[in-house]
Symmetry: C2
DNA sequence: CTTAAAATTTAGTCTTGCCTAAATTATTTT
DNA sequence: AAAATAATTTAGGCAAGACTAAATTTTAAG
């Protein structure tokens, strides 16, 4: 019984990986929302992934789902494809960081391991994608991430933007226009405990950012 | 009723295009062989393509199938993707002409029109792929091909290789090793009417080529 | 502790695209 | 022209993956 790695399977495993990064199992509903598939269908698929030999996920009714080591490796394979592709589309075809996600989302399932190696080599084995997200290594390990959400900073703290965990093109274009991109230095000057807004200085300009933005930007504190 | 353009649909249309280039309808069996799908299944799919609104193919029981203008445009779209991708994989990632076909076969179905435009521009809007095959134009017209099969040449005729109509990696590697690639000058020195072998001089070397090879190489007679 | 709300699962369908086996039609041979 | 062979179509099924509606379980409220 070789494992059937369909597009669908790959998307499930990728989303489960992302949802379980926090350490908790992924719930049926969350998974359904992320995949844009009805919860009832997700239950069915998750049961199948758990019944696979070897199992790709561990599943306990009403308790959510986690990846087995096999499932995790498969997820990291797809994530590596995705992030290498994004990097490559930006570097060689002039895509903007707002546009790459959608294209990579389709390509990630069809490229060969040879293709993966070729673009990785052509790019000089990059460690981060255009959004600053870490790229799983060739032997499928995810480097440790030691960044902090911008939302947890307080006035007088300075930091460097490391990564932006967002795919929405509109949000990404907005951040681009504010200069909030990986590598940029920022300083927090104000904090409002009522709405959790942060005032963030980028170069000369100061911007007031809500939680919707500050929880998606991860920084290294200086 | 918008047309459903699945991978499967695209592969059928592409093969039908290729099989009907000679002017005759494509038979169920030929299509089944090319697609590696059982004839019974092909009949079913062809009936569906004909019932689509607007129809993608014209189909008459036991008489084979041809493309409608709509189906032809869809086929040329896929073929343009395929050939641009091949060109691009060879030029930017160092693929050999023997390796590109398989990768392009999967990518052709998932790239966006934006991606198509970007690689076409990056390559300088090429007119031929690595095998010398003509690339359909952006407005989906196939340039006219005025080449002659090498098999029809006779002793003392000289020609330039224009294109090689083959996907088999082993054959392509073989031709590569003989120096039989697009742009190369050749001269026919001998012909055997018994086995239809041609002796073809490439530079200093002479090679005796059978019909299996000479019908797949297309040349421009000098 | 009981009830209402929310989350999840089960049961039953549907579509796509393929397959096998059997029936039919077309083409060759004799 | 009949028989044999080849090509094609029909009929019936199956697996993947999705959906809706109904049942169940868990969680939150009162
Ligand atoms: Mn995907
Ligand atoms: Mn990314
Ligand atoms: Mn294909
Ligand atoms: Mn080609």
């Amino acid at each position: 019984m070789p494992i059937t790695m369909t597009r669908s399977t790959q998307d499930y495993l990728k989303r489960i990986y992302e949802l379980t990064e926090c350490g908790l199992p992924a719930s049926t509903n969350d998974l359904a929302r992320e995949l844009d598939i009805k919860p009832a269908s997700v239950t069915g698929m998750v049961q199948k992934l758990a019944a696979e030999e070897p199992a790709l996920v561990e599943y306990h009714k009403h308790q959510g789902v986690t990846l087995t080591p096999t499932g995790k490796r498969a997820a990291l394979e797809v994530i590596r494809h995705h992030r290498l592709l994004e990097t490559w589309l930006v570097q060689t075809l002039g895509y903007s960081w707002a546009e790459v996600h959608e294209e990579a989302e389709r390509l990630e399932h069809v490229i060969s391991e040879d293709f993966e190696r070729r673009i990785a080599a052509a790019l000089g084995n990059p460690t981060r994608d255009p959004h600053g997200e870490l790229i799983p290594t060739e032997d499928l390990n995810m480097p440790v991430d030691d960044t902090t959400p911008l939302s947890s900073l307080r006035p007088n703290q300075s930091a460097t933007i490391q990564r932006v965990n967002a795919q929405d093109p509109n949000l990404l274009r907005h951040l681009d226009s504010l200069g909030l991109t990986p590598g940029i230095q920022i300083e927090v000057t104000e904090y409002s405990s009522f709405d959790n807004n942060l005032t963030v200085k980028v170069g000369q300009k100061a911007n007031v950012l809500g939680l919707n933005i500050t929880t998606k930007i991860f920084v290294e504190i200086k």
